[in-house]
């Protein structure tokens, strides 16, 4: 894969964010409907049908694509709103739908054979066999890889499957088996995989205790932040817990993925698309992150090194990591 063909896939939770992403140089913008058919079903977020139609028109007029995430798993016996989501995306001329559920992949491939299908990270397909299955069974054209693979592992996968590979390059860092994680379900009673919200805001509380702030999810204390310490959103996988008498982040620290320095390696590995996480973030985040990655990809295309860029202001906890791509702990 050459840098010329790499696409920058950028998040938008609102029409204003979509415009910010397109104007900042996104090749593709991915969005979701304002319901549980997508994995960022947060209050006040996402697109109504008319907003999506307008957003697609805005993007297409400027040469950008729009991908519609329909990446939760339909409730048993009630697939109608998921089917309607696929039908409407096709009707609005979306450039692709991003799916996770096998049944929905089957529905989309049979009902809209002309519609391009991408496999969501929620499908948790991390092996050549799994990816080939989705391609051969439903005509999936691109797979979004889970954030648990190293660059050499990604290169091996790219060489072994006949479809495009998309990887996360910036934003929130989910370190679990996406689409199968039940941590949030345990704490809140709501599954992110069917209702579309990991650690839903309805179950989040920030409690003041003197100079400290305690973050809670479903009544469980997830973290306590001292005065001046950067706070974080209370997801169980980024909680600070006491185990064996020691207080620590057992799974992952509140930090963001940032692979600016790894982009040339990922291109060399055969990656087709760079995905920026953050549909739940505001347009200031979208604009600044997309602009930075646009500059980085353009620099690589010109054969120049990636220019130094500071994105600490928009990362979780003001920190970032290359995550599993480097696996420095191995």
């Amino acid at each position: 894969m050459s840098a010329e063909n790499v696409e920058l896939v950028c998040p938008a939770g609102t029409p204003a964010a979509l415009k910010a992403a397109v104007d900042a140089g996104a090749d593709c913008v991915y969005v979701g409907y304002r319901d549980e058919t997508n994995a960022r079903n947060f209050p006040g977020l996402n697109f109504s049908r008319p907003e999506l139609a307008d957003g697609i028109a805005y993007a297409h007029e400027r040469g950008s694509k729009v991908l519609v995430a329909i990446n939760t798993f339909p409730r048993a016996g009630h697939p109608q709103i998921w089917h309607a989501a696929v039908d409407d995306a096709a009707r609005f001329n979306a450039d692709a739908v991003i799916l996770a559920d096998i049944g929905l992949c089957d529905y989309a491939s049979k009902t809209h054979p002309e519609l391009r299908l991408h496999l969501s990270v929620q499908a948790s397909a991390s092996s050549a066999e799994a990816i080939r299955f989705y391609h051969e069974s439903f005509g999936i054209r691109r797979a979004v890889l889970p954030r648990v693979l190293t660059v050499p592992e990604i290169a091996a996968l790219c060489a072994d499957v006949p479809i495009e590979m998309e990887v996360f390059v910036f934003g929130g860092l989910c370190v679990m088996a996406e689409g199968r994680c039940a941590l949030s379900s345990y704490a809140t009673g709501h599954s992110p995989n069917t209702s579309g919200a990991c650690s839903p805001a309805s179950h989040v509380r920030y409690v003041e205790k003197g100079e400290k702030v305690v973050s809670q999810l479903g009544g469980f204390t997830i973290n306590t932040f001292g005065n001046g310490e950067p706070a974080g959103y209370p997801t169980l996988c980024k909680g600070r817990f006491e185990a064996n008498g020691k207080l620590s982040y057992l799974f992952e620290e509140p930090t963001s993925l940032n692979t600016l320095d790894l982009l040339p390696d990922l291109i060399a590995a055969g990656v087709t698309a760079f995905k920026i996480e953050g549909r739940q973030r505001g347009r200031a985040y979208v604009g600044s992150v997309v602009k930075a990655f646009r500059q980085a990809v353009d620099a690589i295309r010109r054969g120049e090194p990636v220019p130094p860029m500071v994105l600490a202001g928009v990362t979780e906890g003001g920190r970032h990591t290359a995550g599993a791509y480097e696996r420095s702990w191995r």
Partner: protein
């Protein structure tokens, strides 16, 4: 609902030493009811130009969100009912149970409303504080951020032929604000310089002590291993 006491009790947000703070001191004797027409006008303009905000908040018709610009001597209460929204200015939250409270410097609250600052980053860095119903706060943040508010353009669009002079006034005001803010920064730096020098010296000394402690611990571990 947050009670008055809970709404008043909060981790303090640093008040920036800015022209807004001075304006707040000047406004302190002004009864809030005299400011109410200004906020009625703001709500009217925003409602007309961005009806999608209330649409996105339709799931929370009874939500009442307190907004506290920490550098001003009054608070705002937003009742987000889709048919009859209100933005009420008050001295404090006494006697008004609110669903959630958002606190921050005025300049940051305006930047958030206009999408110039990332709300999550402001909260994570604790320049912004909120309490109460997180779902309502997140919905409000998303609704406002998604509307693409530009206060100057929004007001100008409602004034027709007066838009041009208004832009001129905004421009002049912005430049004046910037100059006063710069002068105040200079004053603040001059006042704080001696204290900062002392703090820098203490920090350097602490760093030295930490380095010594680390070296001692390493030596101790090596000795323990040898033993």
């Amino acid at each position: 609902m947050l009670t008055h006491r809970a709404a008043q009790r909060s981790r303090p947000v640093d008040m920036p030493f800015s022209p807004v703070l001075l304006a707040g001191l000047a406004l302190a004797p002004v009864p809030p009811r005299l400011l109410q027409p200004l906020f009625d006008a703001i709500l009217s303009v925003v409602r007309r130009r961005h009806p999608d905000i209330l649409e996105r908040l339709a799931a929370y018709p009874d939500a009442s969100v307190g907004i506290h610009p920490v550098d001003l001597p009054f608070v705002l209460i937003l009742d987000a009912h889709p048919e009859s929204p209100r933005l009420t200015v008050r001295r404090d939250f006494e006697g008004v149970p609110v669903t959630a409270v958002i606190r921050g410097p005025l300049a940051m609250l305006i930047a958030l409303a206009e999408g110039r600052t990332d709300g999550d980053a402001a909260f994570f860095s604790r320049q912004l504080v909120f309490e109460g119903d997180t779902e309502v706060v997140v919905a409000l943040r998303n609704a406002i951020d998604g509307a693409g508010i530009d206060l100057q353009a929004d007001f100008a669009a409602t004034l027709g032929p007066l838009a041009r002079p208004l832009r001129h006034v905004f421009g002049l005001g912005g430049r004046l604000f910037g100059r006063i803010a710069h002068d105040m920064d200079t004053v603040r730096s001059a006042l704080l310089a001696p204290a900062l020098r002392g703090a820098d010296a203490q920090t350097a000394r602490l760093n030295e002590l930490e380095a010594e402690l680390t070296a001692l611990r390493r030596t101790l571990r090596q000795r323990e291993r040898r033993a």
